[in-house]
Symmetry: C3
């Protein structure tokens, strides 16, 4: 098992944990929590693969299903003690996000798409899972209202592009891009960075549809 | 019209009825109710076909659109009297579920996917329609909180696999697999089987995203 | 830049504005509002392209991303004054809808699908973006409860088909079909046309799933 796989599993685990915990706050049963955890972990990459018209990555090896199962087991066994490890889960989540962005950018780059598409695919890979999670638990997507999340993905994608312009070795490019995503996430949460809220002072929208 | 087609239409009808009735409880107009009914009936198979990268089944023949139209007509004409037939609709729904699972397993098996993917595809075929229905009517997906539903699909998929291991004739395999789904559904509702609710005692989730 | 492109941009702009304004009423941040606007504008065409198994149209040229950015800028800069232009946005929205329907019908027709599929694809192209928008902002889809919207798309698709039966030149067919959608939308809003609400007098749905 190489480093990429370990990071991939850690990220999948952290994303699944986030889905399972939010589902548990809504009194989902074990199965429902498992599904929400799984969709949180694989939703972004699946959306990317459907858009790129390739077989969704998790249909090619069962590891994502197994890792989500382990995540469910951990949440069941640890119960309230989960909160002690919030910082660890956050770091896993940030690391996973960095890797997901890199995978999304590379996969769409090798499919021949232009730079702006690859940056978008990195963002979609990193953030759509959380959006589907929030739709399933019937909440406004958190990503649209809190912290810098999707912007960190976009930044990582742009960094990736500049590294390729400099003809850096692929491993270095991956590392720098992922690290920039992780760094921004950590800084954004630590210093409460956020994007301005959009206010147009209008509650009674008169749009016809 | 062969037996499979009749069962398929009965299942489509029952799934559409379930969507239309839940939409009517939210004061959707006729058209909205039709759309929710249609999506309930075809959402699972469409998701499966997109994941398998084949043309969605309902785009190949208009029968699913027509059956949903009949379902809408029935709900409009019968009004409150619908409740007298709840048991019949439940049986149709269970039969439809059994067939949908079998179709999902077979279609992904013939596309060359490994066993665990075919079992998942059976479950997706049977249960994603109801999840999309609940998202459209802005409710927490019922499937995650009540009865044994998706697990019945998984069980039917596993039974299908074991039947193929025994080299049973295809019709027998289909019948046993569908019957196991139907039986579990009926027993689960009759005896109020359910999956434990996940409680991690945490309402204020401190996940960063 | 030809006429079709101009109309396409105007429609994208109007759809994006509708998403951004509804997102702002939910206190989404700028980025969240951008995403909702973008998904409103491209959601219908993307669903159609996934169903037709072709590369989603917005991945082939960056103009949709740029137009959505302009829409966000306009909403930020104009604030409350947006309401003065509600009528203009409504007209843009209707014109965009007419074009989207025509594009959806033509694209699926040239992919070789039968008439009823092309009509559905026209409707999906025109209305799914608004449905995804309402799911993201956690509201019941407006389209299912108000005005004639999806029916206008279906009508336009049917008109398109009859024009091809008459062997009218392609430009004439496009114009008549789009105009019929626009006209119905305007009449529906002006005269408060609506579809009957479905009532089956049942609030406690006893469906098993």
């Amino acid at each position: 098992m190489d480093l990429i796989s370990i990071v991939d599993y850690a990220g999948t685990f952290a994303f699944a944990i986030s889905g399972i915990r939010l589902a548990s706050a809504k009194n989902f049963d074990w199965f429902g929590a498992y599904v929400v955890g799984f969709v949180t972990a694989i939703g972004g990459g699946t959306t990317r693969d459907l858009l790129l018209d390739v077989t969704p990555f998790w249909m090619l090896q069962p590891s994502y299903i197994i890792v989500t199962g382990i995540a469910l087991l951990v949440v069941i066994l640890m119960g309230k003690r989960m909160t002690y490890f919030n910082n660890a889960f956050f770091i896993f989540d940030a690391i996973g996000l960095g890797l997901f962005v890199v995978v999304g950018v590379e996969k769409s780059m090798s499919a021949g798409f232009p730079v702006w598409v690859t940056v978008l695919m990195g963002m979609i890979t990193g953030s759509v899972g959380g959006i589907i999670r929030d739709i399933l638990i019937n909440e406004l997507p958190l990503i649209f209202r809190k912290d810098i999340y999707a912007l960190a993905c976009i930044f990582g994608g742009v960094i990736f592009y500049f590294c390729t312009l400099l003809h850096l070795p692929n491993e270095i490019t991956q590392a720098i891009s992922a690290a920039s995503v992780i760094l921004i996430r950590i800084l954004a949460v630590k210093y409460h960075w956020s994007i301005p809220v959009l206010k147009n002072g209008e509650n009674n929208n008169s749009e016809p549809n």
